[in-house]
């Protein structure tokens, strides 16, 4: 009731904008015409009839998938920044939280890129624009975890999350992966706490669902990806975000698993994850795709409620999925792989 009365004082405008953005997501018929395209120019033509408009009109030919992806991301970023600029606390805080995941990805991208001696300028170009921070270029200076923290991350919002991984010494492949998962774990738990306990209300209810799913996805992925690695049971348990449904109820069970059937057996106890492993061998859908489908479903649901911040998160996720879809379709066209063109996850 209180939400209903006060929500629009500060958050009415951004909400109307984000709901407008959501309306402009591509529809299935628009996807249908996109998949019929023969060349990338057709894609451009098709997209010009959508909300994207003339966003590719000043690109000199030939058009490439990379250019399309860049422009799409630019669009997303400008829309997101518009929302950020028009928001006040606590929505602005919420939106800031949303960007931390890109922060983490950028940090990991730069460290692992430096490890493989890639060109720093190239790496910076690849970083997601929503997660760019001022001291990012200096990431390549750090040679071990301690330095990474002391030099670069200490004044970023990630500093709190990073404390959990200060034990590792060298930056090798395995450690980077561990750092990534630890950071994401800490971030998810913090964000979960912020949404459920600090914000509460409808936002709490909606974000709880979404973040639990995110956490469970991480748990399942960590479990499956750590089969046959030196990651011990305890290590694994340490990487599991504690806010997921799985980790609250059966973490020990999962951490001990050593093959996919066992994971499946655990997930079968959860209605929403049952279908993830169904017909795994027969269907062409990968686990990742199934997760994406589930994510899209959940995110669409959050638009059914009003007076909450979950829609911003959901819109961003859906838009990202849409970009992945358009890039996928463009890739298929560019590489003449039209038989797989429909293997995307529609956002509506």
């Amino acid at each position: 009731m209180k939400e209903m009365m006060y929500y629009n004082i500060n958050d009415g405008y951004p909400e109307s904008i984000v709901r407008g953005y959501r309306r402009s997501l591509l529809t299935s018929s628009q996807y249908g015409t996109l998949t019929q395209s023969e060349t990338l120019d057709d894609i451009k033509l098709q997209l010009s009839a959508t909300d994207y408009g003339n966003f590719l009109q000043n690109e000199p030919p030939p058009l490439t998938t990379g250019v399309i992806a860049d422009r799409l991301t630019e669009r997303l970023v400008s829309e997101f920044n518009y929302l950020r600029r028009n928001s006040v606390d606590p929505l602005s805080k919420f939106l800031e939280y949303v960007t931390y995941q890109y922060f983490i990805d950028n940090v990991i991208l730069l460290i692992s890129g430096t490890l493989h001696e890639r060109d720093p300028a190239d790496l910076l170009h690849k970083a997601h624009p929503l997660g760019v921070f001022e001291s990012m270029p200096a990431l390549s200076v750090a040679s071990n975890v301690q330095e990474l923290y002391n030099i670069v991350l200490v004044e970023t919002p990630l500093a709190d999350y990073f404390r959990g991984c200060l034990t590792g010494h060298d930056l090798d492949e395995m450690n980077i992966e561990v750092i990534r998962n630890t950071l994401h774990k800490a971030y998810l738990e913090d964000f979960y706490d912020f949404c459920v306990n600090d914000l509460g209300g409808t936002t709490g209810v909606v974000m709880k669902e979404l973040l639990e799913f995110e956490a469970d996805r991480r748990i399942i992925n960590i479990t499956i990806n750590s089969f046959g690695t030196e990651l011990s049971k305890e290590d694994r348990l340490r990487l599991y975000p504690r806010c997921g449904k799985l980790s609250r109820e059966s973490p020990a069970k999962l951490s001990a698993m050593n093959d996919i059937d066992a994971v499946k057996a655990v997930c079968d106890n959860y209605g929403e994850y049952q279908h993830l492993f169904r017909d795994m061998n027969r269907s062409e859908r990968t686990l990742e795709d199934r997760f994406f489908e589930q994510e899209v479903r959940l995110n669409l649901l959050s638009f059914h409620q009003q007076f909450h911040y979950g829609i911003y998160y959901s819109w961003l996720k859906l838009k990202e999925q849409e970009i992945r879809n358009i890039v996928w379709i463009s890739e298929c066209i560019q590489q003449q792989q039209k038989e797989r063109i429909s293997d995307f996850v529609p956002t509506l």
């Binding site: 033509l45 098709q46 000199p60 270029p137 200076v141 670069v152």
Partner: protein
């Protein structure tokens, strides 16, 4: 010429099929486009846009547009005026497309080439300028530290603080410790983060000096102004050196070699200065070349834009055609005003002739039951009024077009409210200026959106000003003052009698009596309001009730007129039930309440007067506002015993003006209120009834067709 009076209704339209020979189709559509009288209908809506026939041509046009946009941005950046061509070019012939494409490509390539050179040169220039500034600052830094060193030599040596010592030791070649210097230029905005990062990486073991470069620099690519600072970092050790370099790289700081020896630095400085001078000459030449190139491009830019866009539009229309009869004919469908068919025919014939086609294109009318589009033929005088009406909603095909009446009513009603001849004159001069300078202003109308609104409505403003002058004269209001043209008919040169017992008081008012022939001639002022009212203390009271009454009269007449216009639509569309369900309730409601009020105004004006004897003297005139309120409330006002003169023959003239008024008023209100439910529910109820009837009819028809055993569910559905 189309028949006169077409503005009263939208024009007669017909659906036509165009049969164009493919080789002449482009020219025919081009001619039609110049004519602007045809609305095309997509005949193959199911075909997706990239599978259509002329997609490649449209893509080529878009590519040309892209090049034009590129050239335009360059031209604008060069601050060149995009020339305004006097005459709009015709759509180019299809074969000219290649020519246009080639010329645009050449210009684009030349421009990119020059730009690349230009950017490279400017980048070089920027770097040299940076280097020059850095060397200049280095000179200051290093000489400063030298002085410091002289002063603090003893103490620092004793304390043996490496950092303090380091700074001063830079120039001291005999010092045991060797210090590295990294110097360069960085964006001023990044300075703080850069410093922080360096401090953190070195754990505080570097010494940094910054100095702003006063000179403004230009970004070689975008031409934006850049603000930079020179930095110098002093530190020890090789390991730190790689780190510092990495950070410099990460922060996009430009690092330049800086020698510790003053002599070497000065030599470098000289070199840089000569190189800068050389570069300057080359840069001016390139700039000139670029300027000439852009100047040439800017001359044809506008016309090229129009040409390309016309071409694109033509192919876009051709995409709505379909190729039939084994590719020998292009068929398209369109709407056109019936009156213009000959003009359209001659246009496509010209098109075919231009293309040198032997086949004559034909137009064939197709009967259709589809809703026809509304087309109101306007000229520069009526277009403003039509736009005004269209902003409220466009009428359906062949409905009465209210904009004809608006030409008179809108400016008039405006003037009734505005009502000042003086201000009207100012408006008139503004409107006249816009009308006289029409052709030159037409080109500038895009410059300001707000001016465009005024310019578009210049004839409306013109009429409004004329009407305002007229009503202003009636109100006798000129710049809120009155003119005494004909001489007032009230005697205002009264003499005040004063004596000692009754002295004249300041601000004393005097009542003029219209019955007294010494004070009023008995003849009204010939035109408008008597100027004597300007000086009266009850001026506002008098004019307000007067204006209120005329506004009511105009308002009710205007609204009734609108309702009557709707009757016209209903009759011509044969929707007779709407006459009873909409028109009559509306007009009754309006006339019985507000129409009656207007009637009362006239009765009051005619019956009562200041020079009439009781019971029709001015004292007895009832207050219409109170009367109307009492009418709605079914209440009778209290009889005022003080107004005895008004009570004769059992009538109270200060309450009711004629006998039986109370009864009539009750009837009118009840009748008017009864109209409300008809207006609300009449039409829906009628619709429901009709639908049921229709369903029943279809049911029986099916009964008859199927010989009695009709399916029952059909009826239930209805």
């Amino acid at each position: 010429m189309p028949e006169m009076g077409t503005l009263f209704r939208s024009e007669l339209m017909c659906r036509c099929q165009l049969y164009l020979p493919p080789e002449a189709a482009y020219n025919c559509v081009a001619e039609l486009g110049e004519l602007g009288l045809v609305q095309f209908v997509d005949v193959n809506p199911e075909v997706s846009s990239f599978q259509r026939q002329f997609v490649s041509e449209i893509k080529r046009c878009e590519e040309m547009e892209r090049k034009l946009r590129f050239i335009e941005t360059e031209v604008i950046r060069e601050n060149l005026d995009v020339d305004q061509d006097e005459i709009e070019p015709m759509a180019p012939a299809p074969r000219e497309m290649v020519e246009l494409e080639n010329s645009l490509t050449t210009v684009e390539n030349n421009l990119t080439e020059v730009n690349t050179n230009y950017v490279a040169l400017r980048k070089n220039h920027l770097e040299l300028t940076e280097y020059k500034n850095m060397l200049k600052q280095a000179e200051i830094f290093l000489s400063e530290t030298r002085f410091n060193f002289q002063d603090s030599d003893e103490t620092t040596r004793l304390l043996d603080d490496p950092e303090e010592n380091g700074v001063s030791d830079v120039k001291d070649e005999h010092a045991s410790m060797k210090f590295n210097i990294v110097a360069g230029v960085i964006d001023r905005a990044r300075q703080v983060a850069f410093e922080k990062m360096l401090w953190r990486v070195s754990k505080g073991n570097v010494f940094i000096k910054f100095s702003d470069i006063e000179e403004e620099m230009e970004d070689p690519k975008t031409g934006n102004t850049l603000y930079k600072s020179v930095f110098m970092i002093f530190f020890q050790g090789e390991e730190l050196k790689t780190r510092v370099q990495k950070i410099c790289e990460g922060f996009h700081a430009a690092v330049y070699p800086c020698s510790e020896h003053g002599k070497e630095r000065r030599e470098r400085m000289m070199g840089v200065n000569t190189r800068l001078e050389d570069l300057h000459t080359i840069l001016t030449q390139t700039t000139d070349h670029r300027h000439r190139l852009l100047l040439a491009a800017s001359r044809t830019l506008k016309s090229s834009y129009v040409k390309v866009r016309k071409m694109k539009a033509i192919y876009h229309i051709l995409n709505q055609f379909s190729l039939r009869d084994s590719q020998r004919v292009l068929i398209g469908e369109c709407w056109m005003p019936t009156a213009d068919i000959p003009a359209i025919k001659s246009a496509i014939t010209t098109g075919a002739q231009n293309a040198g086609s032997s086949v004559v294109p034909t137009i064939e009318r197709v009967p259709t039951t589809e809703d026809h589009p509304t087309f109101n033929r306007v000229n520069k005088y009526t277009i403003g009024f039509q736009a005004l009406i269209d902003s409220y909603g466009i009428n359906s095909y062949r409905e009465v077009n209210p904009s004809v009446y608006t030409i008179a009513t809108f400016p008039f009603l405006f003037a009734v409210m505005f009502g000042d001849a003086g201000h009207g004159l100012i408006m008139l001069s503004f409107a006249l200026w816009m009308i006289i300078a029409e052709s030159s202003l037409e080109k500038k109308r895009d410059i300001s959106e707000i001016f465009n609104i005024f310019f578009g409505g210049r004839y409306i403003i013109f009429l409004m000003s004329l009407f305002s002058i007229y009503t202003g004269l009636i109100y006798n209001d000129i710049f809120s003052k009155s003119l005494n043209i004909f001489g007032t008919n009230w005697s205002t040169n009264m003499t005040f009698a004063a004596n000692e017992s009754a002295p004249l008081k300041l601000g004393e008012t005097l009542m003029l009596d219209p019955k007294n022939p010494n004070q009023y001639t008995g003849v009204p002022y010939p035109f408008g309001v008597d100027p004597a009212w300007q000086a009266a203390t009850n001026k506002i009271g008098f004019l307000n009730t007067y204006k209120m009454k005329i506004s009511l009269i105009f308002g009710v007449v205007h609204m009734s007129f609108g309702v009557i216009l709707s009757l016209w639509n209903k009759v011509s569309n044969r929707r007779y039930h709407e006459i009873f369900l909409e028109f009559f309730p509306q007009i009754f409601f309006l006339l019985f309440l507000f129409g009656y009020l207007v009637v009362m105004i006239f009765i009051k004006w005619l019956m009562y007067g200041a020079n009439y004897a009781d019971p029709f003297s001015e004292h007895c005139a009832p207050n219409l506002l109170i009367t109307f309120i009492n009418m709605m409330l079914f209440k009778k006002a209290d009889v005022d015993p003080k107004l005895e003169g008004c009570h004769t023959d059992g009538m109270n003239y200060e309450i009711y003006m004629y006998s039986g008024q109370g009864g009539l008023q009750k009837f009118l209100v009840i009748f008017a209120v009864l109209m409300v439910p008809i207006m609300l529910f009449g039409k829906p109820a009628h619709k429901i009834y009709k639908r049921k009837q229709e369903a029943a009819r279809r049911g029986t028809m099916r009964d008859e067709l199927l010989g009695g055993d009709a399916p029952q569910e059909e009826e239930e559905e209805g």
